[in-house]
Amino acid sequence: MESGHTAWLLTSCALVLLMTPGLAFFYGGMVRAKNVLGMLMKNYVAMGIVTILWILVGASLAFSGSTTIGDYGVIGNFDLWGLRDLGQSNDHFGLPYPDNVQMMFQLTFAIITPALIAGAIAERMKFTAWAVFIGIWSLLVYVPMTHWVWGGGFIASNIEALDFAGGLVVHINAGAAALALIMVLGPRIGFRKEAIRPHSLPLTILGAGILWFGWFGFNGGSALAANAAAGNAFLTTQVAAATAATAWILAEAFTHGKPTTLGFVSGAVAGLVAITPAAGFVSPLGAMLLGLVAGVVCFYALRLKFMFNFDDSLDVVAVHLVGGIIGSLLLGVLAEEAYGGVAGSMDQFVSQAISVVIALVYSFSVTFVIAKVLDMVMGIRVSEEEERGGLDLALHEEQAYGFVE
């Protein structure tokens, strides 16, 4: 163990944890004023519920070692429940910093992933149903996926797909789940009919700034050390975000005539998503190309929801699912040996493609079942009157902004 690596990973833990509040505001600014608290809460509550479950059993199931079926690592066990036997050493993970730091670092990823889904179900999902949903989803979808990719499971070991910081585990996972969930939930009243406008873009832009900042912990920390690989992850992260943001507003300017601030920050997030699986494997110039593709493709992907009539309210599919797929696939081609030790190749591309399909299908189908069951058991959608009056009053008995004085 080295104090420098420990210092950097501790910092990364804090940075990634901050991303969930950042995400809350990124999303919260985009909804109407009557629903902003409901949206913030759906994000923040992940910091509560997922933390508890992770400490109790999630961390253990993901990282205690691999229970195999045939040659395929499928899930961990309960040996590490409650983190009772984790100790103060690095014996378990063998990383150059203590095991408990790694568990904390992984926890921050486990928190933000379900929080990402919240953008899709904005302005209409019950809070209680959401709270139950993310608890179940964490254990049934997030934990296995993490195990497969980072916990010794079959995606890493057998398929040999690469995922530097969560293209599969975080973004495709959340994006596919979002799609399944909104198919059960249905569109908001007024979707495609009324203008449903953001109530406070400054909040959204602030949230994006915080996300961008925190992402350096997300990708930089995923180097699992304070070294040149982390430095390269910083550069590629920054370049991809910058390029995608710029590409997005250029695409906007060509299409609508004006570059928008919401477009800029949306593009930045698309770039950050796309570079996530690739940050440690590509060069800064490779990241620029990746950012360019992500910015343009995600921008056009926004239209899918209007074409297929699913109300992905804050575009989780277009940004996280599409962006995650772009990054995971292109990484198979753009990887350079000098950076992460792996060169892009047809083989790698195929591995990436297979892993993408698995992640997408698993997350989508299991989420769909969870959502359907929950809807039958407790109902996942607020009443029409509650939706009209706003979730803040209906679900939380609060108003975001005071009236007089």
Binding site: K34, G190, E194, A195, R388, G389, L393, E397, E398, Q399, F403
Partner: protein, 112 residues
């Protein structure tokens, strides 16, 4: 000329405005308001302190119209604002002595 004031549910604004446009209204002005009435308010809770809030967010629109168009305007608002539940709001009709268009100085019906 009349000033037609209506207190409406915020989410009906767009539809009402479009309907009024079709009725031949040349303009209107809308304001965010808080209404108190039969519609029951709601409870708000902040750190365990519960407040009964009687006021409900409403939009107040006002339309200047000539006497001839007034009934149609009232009728349009009535139809498009109605959802059938308490809180749909009210319309009030107020006499107007004169209207002036600032840009041209036109007065009376010409100003509308």
């Amino acid at each position: 000329m009349k000033l037609v004031i209506a207190y409406i549910n915020p989410f009906r604004l767009d539809e009402i405005r479009d309907a009024l446009k079709e009725t031949g209204v040349s303009g209107l002005t809308a304001i965010n308001a808080q209404g108190f009435g039969r519609q029951s308010g709601h409870t708000e809770t902040y750190r365990g302190a519960e407040y009964e809030v009687d006021m409900v967010p409403k939009v107040r629109i006002e339309v200047l119209v000539d006497d001839v168009l007034a009934p149609a305007v009232i009728d349009t608002i009535e139809r498009t604002a109605r959802t059938g539940s308490i809180g749909d709001g009210k319309i009030a009709v107020i006499p107007v002595e004169d209207v002036i268009r600032i840009r041209t100085g036109e007065r009376g019906n010409d100003a509308l």
